[in-house]
């Protein structure tokens, strides 16, 4: 299917564990983004990538690591999960033509 997929959709982990959230797109859009959504904060940008091997920090990057070896994949890793990273995580891509971002279905992460 075309579009953006995120996996897993739901994840429960423990404090201190490493967790990787996956994002895959079929459009070959250059730009990809990771946001977190928390009650009262809306969506906040964690990291973004302008192309393969090019990534940059967003508003709330601390505690997260990203990589982008292929255009279609943009994994987000929590190297040592903390309870404050309990959130819903959304991946998005940017279609530069209409300058519109399209969002994946999200991953709900709970850190115990």
């Amino acid at each position: 299917d075309a579009g953006i997929t995120q996996s897993p959709r739901y994840k429960i982990t423990e404090t201190g564990r490493q967790v990787t959230l996956m994002c895959h797109q079929t459009w070959s859009h250059s730009y990809m983004f990771w946001y977190r959504q928390d009650l009262g904060h809306g969506l906040r940008l964690i990291y973004y990538s302008a192309a393969a091997d090019i990534t940059d920090k967003g508003e709330v990057p601390d505690g997260y690591v990203v990589s982008r070896s292929k255009t279609e994949n943009f994994p987000l890793t929590l190297e040592s999960a903390t309870r404050s990273q309990t959130s819903v995580y959304f991946c998005a891509t940017l279609d530069r033509g209409p300058n519109t971002q399209y969002f994946g279905p999200g991953t709900r992460l709970t850190v115990l």
Binding site: G42, Y48, F90, L94, N99
Partner: protein
Amino acid sequence: AQSVTQPDIHITVSEGASLELRCNYSYGATPYLFWYVQSPGQGLQLLLKYFSGDTLVQGIKGFEAEFKRSQSSFNLRKPSVHWSDAAEYFCAVGARPGGSQGNLIFGKGTKLSVKP
């Protein structure tokens, strides 16, 4: 600083009534403006966007929004709300292509409840 303000955290309207969701932005350059809708447990879906031209833009599901530069506003409207419109609505502002990195600044959202 760039910011988006949605003054109403939660709005309740009766089915069939009209709706207006407010959005004010602060942005140094000419903005791209967006409204997204998020149904419970779902991702964000684009409702409409404004880039230039006619300041009244039409979107999906019968929504429209009006860009008012003098008021730095981009309010979302619908003449007659349906129960299925119950969701959370996010206003966002972004940069033009070739400007910054294309990331969006989101408001904190307005949750819409619809009474039968």
